[in-house]
């Protein structure tokens, strides 16, 4: 409330001619919601985001688990993911455009390159951090390697894997917005660029605020699911 109040004040003062007060932004948001502009924008923004996250989840968790379980896979691919996680992956988005064009494929890939490293690294760490004494216990009670993985390693890593997915979704939001601003303006990126170019600043800020809010709410939602499914006290790692 205080935040919105300061925003309103700063907009009326005015801080900058391009900075609209909260009330006009809210009004613009209401209007864009009512005439369906926002809904249409989100349909096209969410498509690469959802596909990208789904692909990243499968690839990232798969690779992370494989790296955690097999020394050979770890040796081959760990350096790649360490670099990928540290590097500013947004910089390769123009390269993606160069190869895959400006369509859905390129935007989905932008989500994937941002989301996969963190998902992979978290899954890998989850597997690697398995309590060695639980593995020893499993062996002592005649567990097979398969039982070790299914009954000890994976449940133990579950919490970290899910946390990785949550961070991956956050990265995916970043990826899709960058793609829409950098590759071709579609969806929410289009609303932002178009309204800023014709100086409809309340509309532009409404679009920005709505994607920020959606991202934040999604992450919060995932966080509360995580706390329910993997409460810290029964979580292995």
């Amino acid at each position: 409330m205080l935040f919105f109040g300061i925003w309103e004040g700063a907009g009326r003062w005015p801080l900058s001619p391009t900075f609209p007060p909260f009330s006009r932004t809210a009004w613009a948001l209401g209007r864009m919601t009512a005439d369906g502009t926002l809904a249409r924008a989100y349909v096209s923004t969410l498509e690469p985001l959802v596909i990208g996250i789904a692909v990243s989840a499968v690839v990232g968790v798969g690779f992370g688990i494989a790296m955690g379980l097999s020394r050979a896979v770890e040796w081959l691919s760990l350096p790649l993911f360490v670099i990928a996680q540290a590097a500013p992956m947004a910089a390769i988005i123009p390269l993606i455009t160069y190869i895959y064009g400006i369509g859905l494929t390129a935007k989905t890939l932008a989500v994937v390159v941002l989301a996969v490293p963190v998902i992979t690294m978290n899954s890998y760490k989850g597997i690697r951090n398995t309590n060695p004494s639980l593995i020893e216990m499993c062996r002592a009670f005649l567990g097979t390697r398969r039982q070790q993985v299914l009954k000890i390693v994976l449940p133990h890593a579950g919490g970290l894997i899910f946390a990785g997915l949550r961070l991956g979704v956050a990265m995916g939001f970043i990826g899709v917005v960058i793609a829409e601003l950098l590759i071709t303006p579609t969806g929410i990126g289009d609303l932002i660029t178009y309204h800023s170019s014709v100086a409809d600043y309340p509309e532009m800020f409404a679009a920005v605020a709505s994607i920020v809010a959606l991202g934040a709410l999604t992450i919060r939602g995932l966080q509360s699911v995580e706390r329910r499914v993997f409460p810290p006290e029964i979580r292995g790692s």
Binding site: N131, S133, L134, E136, M137, C138, R139, A140, F141, L142, G143, T144, Q147, K151, I152, P155, H156, E233, I234, R235, G236
Partner: protein
């Protein structure tokens, strides 16, 4: 009169040198009689846990061999069950599943293994805690879960690796007393690793003293303490008990820097 009891575990010329170059055990040869509670006692770092894990088949020795009931050990087996120092309970599983876990790994059907697990839970005095999770239990109760899990698989030999070391003194005494009661009418062979002299003398008829690293057998002591129909406090005041504690201390004292 000497009674010779058949040896169930035979340790022959075991040596263990880790990849790091640390020599933990050197030329350890000894036997453990069937149906007895034997303790392995020694200063910290003398390789007593290593020895227990070799007998359990969890670690492969560098030299020598272990035979259990005449068969050479090359891995864990159904006749041996392990109780871990850090309990090694699944944090995401309740007491019932943890106790039944050994049977779960052996593919025993759910109803059957839960029946067996409930019996072990009752034996270690944890009735009513079946649905609790490890983090809701005290250290002593967690180790009772670890013991119940070992009892549930009905192994002939129970290997206990400093099971009470992370439990406070009062709980530890109570647990020791309960353990003796629990084992009194069973034909279990228990190998118990500890660094507590009192614990070793209180619990066992046969104490293997290891020397510091590289560990080797320094002495085997068999105090004859009359335990039948006597209270724990009477045992702790027994002259033989006190003498044995003192005798062991005189030996171990030399190893303490």
């Amino acid at each position: 009169m000497t009674v010779t009891i058949e040896a169930i575990v035979e340790v022959r010329e075991i040596g263990m040198t880790y990849d790091t170059g640390v020599e933990a055990l050197r030329d350890v040869t000894l036997t453990f009689p069937r149906g007895c509670l034997s303790t392995v006692l020694g200063p910290s770092g003398c390789g007593k846990t290593t020895l227990l894990k070799i007998i359990g088949g969890l670690i492969r020795p560098s030299t020598g061999e272990v035979r259990v009931a005449g068969r050479r050990v090359d891995g864990p087996g159904p006749e041996r069950a392990f109780v871990f120092q850090d309990f090694a309970l699944l944090p995401w599983a309740n007491v019932l599943r943890n106790v039944a876990f050994g049977l779960e790994l052996r593919g025993v059907p759910r109803d059957q293994r839960h029946t067996v697990a409930r019996r072990s839970i009752a034996e270690v005095g944890l009735l009513g805690f079946e649905a609790s999770y490890p983090h809701q239990l005290s250290g002593g109760m967690r180790q009772r879960v670890g013991l119940a899990r070992a009892l549930a698989v009905d192994a002939e030999i129970i290997l206990m690796d400093e099971p009470f070391s992370s439990v406070d003194e009062q709980t530890r005494r109570k647990f020791q007393e309960d353990l003796l009661l629990l084992l009194r009418d069973r034909q279990k062979t228990v190998l118990f690793v500890t660094h507590s002299i009192e614990e070793a003398v209180y619990l066992s008829d046969r104490i293997v003293l290891l020397s510091p690293r590289p560990g080797s057998v320094a002495r085997i002591i068999q105090p004859s303490i009359e335990r039948a129909r006597r209270s724990p406090d009477e045992i702790r005041r027994d002259k033989n008990y006190l003498d044995a504690v003192d005798e062991i201390w005189q030996i171990l004292k030399r190893y303490v820097a």
